[in-house]
C-alpha cells in the first residue's frame, strides 16, 4: 500500500510536470527555441490565479474555511490561462519575433533575459515573500484508509491535466490550426509558401503553451498552497528536463518525460535520498542523452551537409 501511495503522489506531480513540459515542447516544435521563460509564465499563472481568486472572493471564502463554489474555480482557471496566454504572446512578439532570423543562440540568451526579468520584476511587483493560495478544491479524502489516502485535490489535478492533454491532442491532430502547427514544425519556410500565416501560428503556439503552464501553476498552487515569484525556477527546470528526456518537440514525449521525472523524484525521496533530488534528475537526463541524444521518443535527425 505504501507503494500505491507513492504511485498516486508521483502521478499527481507528474501531471503537473507534464503540463509544463508540453509548453516547452510545443514552442520548441515550432521555433526550435528553448523558452527559458516558460517556468516564469507558470509562476505568473499562479499569481493570476491568486489575483482572480482574490477578486471573485474565493480567497476570503477559503480563508474562512468555507468551500469555494465550482464556478469560482472555473473562473480562476480560465482567467489565469487567458492572462498567461496573453503574456506568452507579448513575450513572443517583443522578445523572440525580432530574432526569427538571428542565430538560435541569440534567442536562447534573450529567453534567459526574459526569465530573469519576470522573476525579479515579479519580486518587485508581488513582493518576494511567499503568499498563501486559495483552497479552490475542498480538502477532503476520497479514499481514506490508514495506509492509503487519495485526496479530492489529487484526483482533480490528474483529471484536469488529462482533460487538457486530450483536448490538446485533439487540437493538434484533428483541427485545421493543429495541422498548421504541425506543418510549421516540420518546415517553416515551406509552410509559409503553402499560405500558412506562420507568425500567427507561432503566436498561437505560445498562447497555448502559456495557457497550459498557467493551468499547471494553478493546479500546483492548489496542491501546495504557497506561491512566490521564484517558484517557477526549480519546477520549470525539472519540467524542461522532462521535455528533453521524452524528446523535445514531441508532445507524447513531454507527457512521458513528465511522468518519468515525477516517478524518479518520488523514488529518490522514498529511498531516503531526497537531498539529491536535483542531482538524480539531471543524472538521469545526462545518461539518457548519452544513449539517445534526441530523447526517448525524439527522432535523431542526421545532419545534412
Amino acid at each position: 500500500m505504501e507503494f500505491l501511495q507513492q504511485v498516486a503522489n508521483a502521478l499527481t506531480q507528474g501531471a503537473i510536470y507534464a503540463l509544463i513540459a508540453l509548453g516547452y515542447t510545443l514552442v520548441y516544435g515550432v521555433l526550435r527555441l528553448i523558452n527559458f521563460a516558460h517556468g516564469d509564465v507558470y509562476m505568473l499563472g499562479a499569481f493570476f490565479g491568486l489575483f482572480i481568486s482574490r477578486w471573485t472572493g474565493a480567497l476570503t471564502l477559503s480563508q474562512n474555511n468555507k468551500s469555494v463554489p465550482l464556478w469560482m474555480t472555473a473562473v480562476v482557471f480560465v482567467g489565469a490561462m487567458i492572462g498567461s496566454a496573453l503574456v506568452g504572446m507579448v513575450i513572443e512578439r517583443f522578445a523572440y519575433r525580432p530574432l526569427r532570423t538571428a542565430p538560435r543562440l541569440t534567442a536562447l540568451i534573450t529567453a534567459i533575459g526574459v526569465s530573469l526579468l519576470l522573476e525579479y520584476g515579479g519580486q518587485m511587483a508581488f513582493s518576494p515573500d511567499p503568499q498563501p493560495f486559495a483552497a479552490l478544491i475542498a480538502e477532503r479524502n476520497i479514499i481514506d484508509t490508514p495506509s492509503f489516502s487519495l485526496s479530492l485535490v489529487q484526483l482533480f489535478i490528474v483529471g484536469a491535466a488529462l482533460l487538457l492533454m486530450l483536448s490538446l491532442n485533439f487540437l493538434i491532430q484533428k483541427t485545421k490550426i493543429g495541422r498548421a502547427m504541425r506543418a510549421v514544425s516540420i518546415d517553416r519556410a515551406a509552410a509559409q509558401l503553402m499560405g500558412i500565416p506562420t507568425d500567427r501560428i507561432i503566436a498561437f503556439t505560445f498562447a497555448l503553451g502559456s495557457g497550459l503552464a498557467a493551468a499547471a501553476g494553478v493546479l500546483n498552487s492548489i496542491y501546495q498552497p504557497s506561491i512566490d515569484p521564484l517558484m517557477g525556477v526549480q519546477v520549470g527546470l525539472r519540467a524542461f528536463v522532462a521535455a528533453v528526456l521524452g524528446g523535445i518537440g514531441n508532445i507524447y514525449g513531454a507527457v512521458l518525460g513528465g511522468l518519468l521525472m515525477a516517478f524518479a523524484e518520488t523514488a529518490t525521496v522514498a529511498v531516503g535520498l531526497s537531498r539529491y533530488r536535483d542531482a538524480v534528475a539531471f543524472a538521469i537526463l545526462i545518461l539518457v542523452l548519452l544513449v539517445r541524444p534526441a530523447g526517448i521518443l525524439g527522432r535523431n535527425v542526421a545532419e545534412k551537409v
Partner: protein, 439 residues
C-alpha cells in the same frame, strides 16, 4: 624590445602600472601609497571592486574560450568555479598547513635549518599557489567529464547538459559534510590579495589570447564556424572541444579559488545557474569570440553591480542604456532603410522609455503636482517602491540590458574584434577577429 612586440596584456599591465606611478607622483603626499597607508589611492572599497572585477574577468575570458572561440554553448561555468573554490579551500584549510609544517620539519632536520626558515617565511604564497593549482586541476577534471558528452551533443542539448552538471555539482556540495553542506564552508584562510588577482587575470587573458591565436586556436575557430567542414579538413574535433572545456574549466577553478580565499567563505548558493548566467551575460555582452570584449564587459558589469545598489545609480544606468539603445536602433534602421520618417520612428520607443524612467525617479514630485490638480487620485510612490526592492531592481536592469543588447546588437559590444590601447592611439580598431590582431 619594442612595446608593440610584447603581448597585449603585458603592455596593458605596464601602462596601468605607469598610470599609477604617475598618479602617485602627482599626488606627492607623504604616506600615500597605492593600497595601504593613511590615504591610499585605491581605498578598500575600490580594492574590493577591483578584486571582484578581476575574478569576473578570469571567468568571462575563460568561458569565452568555450562559448566564443570554440562555438560550444556551456551554461555551467559556475559549476567548475565551485569545484575550484571548494577543493582549493579544503586543501588550504585542512591539508595544506599540516603537510607544510611536516615538510618544513623534515627539511630543517635533514637538509638545512636556513632553508626551513626561508620556506617558512614564504609559507602563505607557496600554500596558495599549490591550493590554486589543486583547485584548477580538480576543475579541469570536472571540465573533462563535461567535455565528454559534448562530443555527442550540440547546441541546445549541450547547454542543458552543462547546466545539469552545474546543478549536480552544487547538489553534491550541499550534501558534503566536510565542507559545511548547505550552510557553507567557513574559516577559509585569507590568501587572496589584489596582486594575486591582478597577476592571474593578466595571466588568464594572456594565455587564452595566445591559445586562441595558436594553431589549436585556429582549429577551435574552425570547429565554431563549421564543425563538419572542420572534421573533413582533418581536424580532430573531439580533441579540440575537450581541450577547450578542460582549459576553460581550469581557469574557472582558479577564479573559484581566488574568490573562496578572498571572502573566506564558500556557499553552494553562490555557484548556481544564476552565477553561470552572469558569466554568460558578460561574454555575450562583450561579444562572443572577443577576449578584450569579455574582459571589458566583465569589469564593467562588476562596476555596474555596485552602481545599481542605489536608486540614483539605477537611474543613471537606465538613462545611459536608453541612450545606447536609441543609438543602436538608429544605426540599425539607417542600415536597413532610409527616409526621415523611419529615422524618427527609431527614437519613439527610447523616448517613451526615458519618460517612464524619469516618471519613476521623480515620482514624489510628479505625484505632488498631479495631486494638486486631481486631489483624489492617490498615486503610488514609485520611487519608494524602487528603493524598497534594491536587489530585485538590480537584476531587472540586468535582464533588460541583456534583452536590449540581444535585440539591437546581437554581436555584442565588440563583436569578434579585439581592442587595444595601441590601436586606440592610432585612432582605429585593429582588424576583424583574432587574425587581424596577429598580422
Amino acid at each position: 624590445m619594442r612595446p608593440s612586440s610584447l603581448p597585449f596584456p603585458l603592455v596593458f599591465a605596464w601602462r596601468v602600472f605607469i598610470f599609477f606611478v604617475v598618479v602617485r607622483a602627482l599626488m606627492g603626499v607623504q604616506g600615500t601609497t597605492l593600497f595601504a597607508g593613511k590615504h591610499p589611492i585605491i581605498n578598500p572599497y575600490y580594492q574590493n571592486i577591483l578584486i571582484n572585477a578581476g575574478i569576473a574577468i578570469i571567468l568571462a575570458v575563460s568561458l569565452n574560450l568555450i562559448n566564443g572561440i570554440t562555438g560550444q554553448f556551456s551554461l555551467g561555468h559556475a559549476g567548475f568555479m565551485a569545484v575550484g573554490a571548494y577543493i582549493s579551500a579544503y586543501f588550504s584549510k585542512e591539508i595544506g598547513g599540516v603537510l607544510f609544517a611536516q615538510l618544513i620539519a623534515l627539511i630543517s632536520v635533514h637538509i638545512s635549518k636556513q632553508l626551513g626558515t626561508l620556506l617558512l617565511t614564504f609559507q602563505q604564497p607557496i600554500l596558495f599557489t599549490i591550493a590554486i593549482l589543486v583547485g584548477a586541476l580538480a576543475a579541469g577534471a570536472a571540465g573533462f567529464l563535461v567535455g565528454l558528452p559534448s562530443l555527442r551533443l550540440r547546441g541546445d542539448y549541450l547547454a542543458i547538459v552543462t547546466l545539469g552538471f552545474n546543478q549536480i555539482i552544487v547538489s553534491l556540495i550541499r550534501n558534503w559534510k566536510a565542507v559545511g553542506e548547505a550552510s557553507g564552508y567557513i574559516g577559509i584562510p585569507k590568501f587572496t590579495t589584489f596582486a594575486w588577482v591582478f597577476a592571474l587575470a593578466i595571466a588568464c587573458i594572456w594565455s587564452i589570447r595566445n591559445l586562441a591565436s595558436s594553431a589549436l586556436g585556429r582549429e577551435m575557430r574552425a570547429v565554431r564556424d563549421d564543425e563538419i567542414a572542420a572534421e573533413a579538413s582533418g581536424i580532430n574535433t573531439t580533441r579540440v572541444k575537450v581541450v577547450a572545456f578542460v582549459y576553460s574549466a581550469m581557469w574557472a577553478g582558479v577564479a573559484g579559488a581566488l574568490q573562496a580565499h578572498y571572502i573566506q567563505y564558500a556557499n553552494p548558493n553562490d555557484f548556481t545557474f544564476l552565477r553561470s548566467v552572469e558569466v554568460v551575460v558578460s561574454v555575450v555582452l562583450g561579444g562572443l569570440g572577443s577576449i578584450t570584449g569579455s574582459a571589458l564587459s566583465a569589469a564593467g558589469l562588476t562596476v555596474l553591480q555596485e552602481v545599481l545598489r542605489d536608486v540614483p545609480g539605477a537611474f543613471y544606468t537606465s538613462v545611459a542604456l536608453v541612450g545606447l539603445a536609441a543609438y543602436w536602433n538608429f544605426v540599425r534602421v539607417k542600415s536597413e532603410q532610409s527616409g526621415s520618417k523611419s529615422m524618427l520612428r527609431a527614437f519613439v520607443v527610447p523616448f517613451f522609455a526615458l519618460i517612464a524612467i524619469c516618471l519613476c525617479y521623480w515620482s514624489p514630485q510628479v505625484n505632488a503636482v498631479l495631486e494638486r490638480v486631481f486631489p483624489r487620485l492617490d498615486l503610488p510612490d514609485l520611487r519608494a517602491a524602487l528603493e524598497s526592492s534594491k536587489g530585485a531592481l538590480r537584476y531587472v536592469i540586468y535582464s533588460v540590458i541583456l534583452i536590449v543588447v540581444m535585440l539591437l546588437r546581437p554581436q555584442g559590444l565588440l563583436g569578434r574584434r579585439e581592442w587595444s590601447l595601441a590601436a586606440l592611439q592610432r585612432g582605429r580598431r585593429v582588424g576583424k577577429g583574432v587574425e587581424g590582431n596577429l598580422a
